[in-house]
Amino acid sequence: MFDFLDGYDLLGAFWVTVQLTVYSALGSLIWGTLLAGMKVSPVPLMRGFATGYVNVVRNIPLTVIIVFSSLGLYSTLNISLGASEITDVNFRLAVLALSAYTAAFVCEALRSGINTVPVGQAEAARALGLSFTQVLRLIILPQAFRSVVNPLSNVLIALTKNTTVASAIGVMEASYLMKGMIENEAQLILISAVFAFGFIVLTLPTGLILGWVSKKVAVKR
């Protein structure tokens, strides 16, 4: 029944999806945290920059950003991010685009987390003489991160699904393989079911595990 799978590297394609997700998740977490830090900083210019970035990036389709990274950055400006082979170039550009896009949502989630920390916490920290960066790093962010596990897990699930857009620039992940398979094999329903199942396997545990973690680590107030 499943012989149509012969000759296709199903696991390999899903492995690329997982790699895209993990690298982009790390990238967007770092960049998103920096953005959130800027957004709550006392420097008006940084606040303005972070707000502008989030508003612009949130309102552009991810597809436009990813296609731009290939047609604009690579083909026009020859930016290849240090890779020489075209598959590597596409993969790295996709990670860059996904990180830049997802960071806006990470930033929003973190900022809402910072707002849940009671003012008294920061006031107490300042009374001890901690500086802004110390307050942010030692007192606010640890509490904020614990309260945003749930929103962040939603962002992560969305990112997992968004990696499919990378197929638009030829990254050979799951949806790229699926597109090829349903053109060549007359097994539309079975193929669809296999890939649907694959994505459910990737996203469902993420939601369940992180949901459990978020209950576990939430600061009880």
């Binding site: 709550v40 900083s41 006392p42 420097v43 940084m46 920059f49 508003n55 309102n59 552009i60 389709p61 991810l62 597809t63 436009v64 990813i66 296609v67 731009f68 604009g72 083909s75 026009t76 400006l77 020859n78 896009y101 949502f105 929003e108 910072i114 707002n115 920390v117 916490q121 920061a122 300042r126 802004f132 307050v135 942010l136 749930n150 929103p151 897990s153 939603n154 962002v155 699930i157 969305a158 699904k161 968004n162 499919t164 857009v165 197929s167 638009a168 949806s175 699926m178 597109k179 349903i182 053109e183 539309l188 669809s192 890939f195 649907a196 994505f199 459910i200 996203t203 469902l204 939601g207």
Partner: protein, 302 residues
Amino acid sequence: MSSVLYDAQGPRAKRRNILYTVLFVLVAAAVVWWVYDGLASKHQLDWIKWKPFFTSSQPWETFIWPGFQNTIKAAFFALIIALPLGALFGIGRLSEHRWMRAPSAVVVEFFRAIPVLILMVIANQAYSEYTELDPETRLLYAVITGLVLYNASVLAEIVRAGILTLPSGQTDAAKAIGMRKGQTMVFVLLPQAVTAMLPAIVSQIVVIVKDTALGGAVLSFPELLASVRPMAANYGANTIACFTIIAVIYIALNFSLTSFASWLERRLRRAKKSTGAVVGTGPGGAPETVGAPVVIMDSSAS
């Protein structure tokens, strides 16, 4: 000004902020210079590459406007089909009968877990195998089908959250005056829930508009993003200029929708007549509004 993070600033803090500002400006200037230099050395900033968009209406009439129309068409039909479907499944999930609740839950969770792109590709193939649609209509149908399946399930969650924000007294009162379950839903619960849901629905429109671009990139449905390639080919490899124009259109359209949603949310939260509960727009955006929308109960609204 003070916030959770800092107080009104003293002289030292002010000096430090100025230092940070200067450093930030320096870094930003370096980045801008690097980008400018990169663009200029590839002749992407030459006036000839940008001229077509500002001096003639030809690119707008030939490429951008038809693409924009297709984007809006797909988004509009997806929305008006997904809304009632979403309402149906949202209410289904709240039913007292397991035989209604369980299938609704399965359908909603299933279509939320699958990427829209995959839904579109499957729909496209299914239409080409099992129907006689001509290719142009088929692409439009495929894009709309993909968008509807995903967004109806997200809207179902919004509807469910909206109805759950209502105080149980509303149902009790409706029962007390002898309304049937259907009547309670149609005349009492839904009208109130719609107000609470409006901001979330408006921000879902942004998600739908953004996702239409998938149709252009993956199925070559001739929407706004798809007009970049022919345009860049036609006006002398002005890829950067074309992308800039397209991005600005998307941003203008979606930013007005996002702003409208947050204005609506603030307004509803202030409104005296409502319960003050609003289904928040969440950290949503793109194919990423997953998970139940955040229900924000604001007790300070009175």
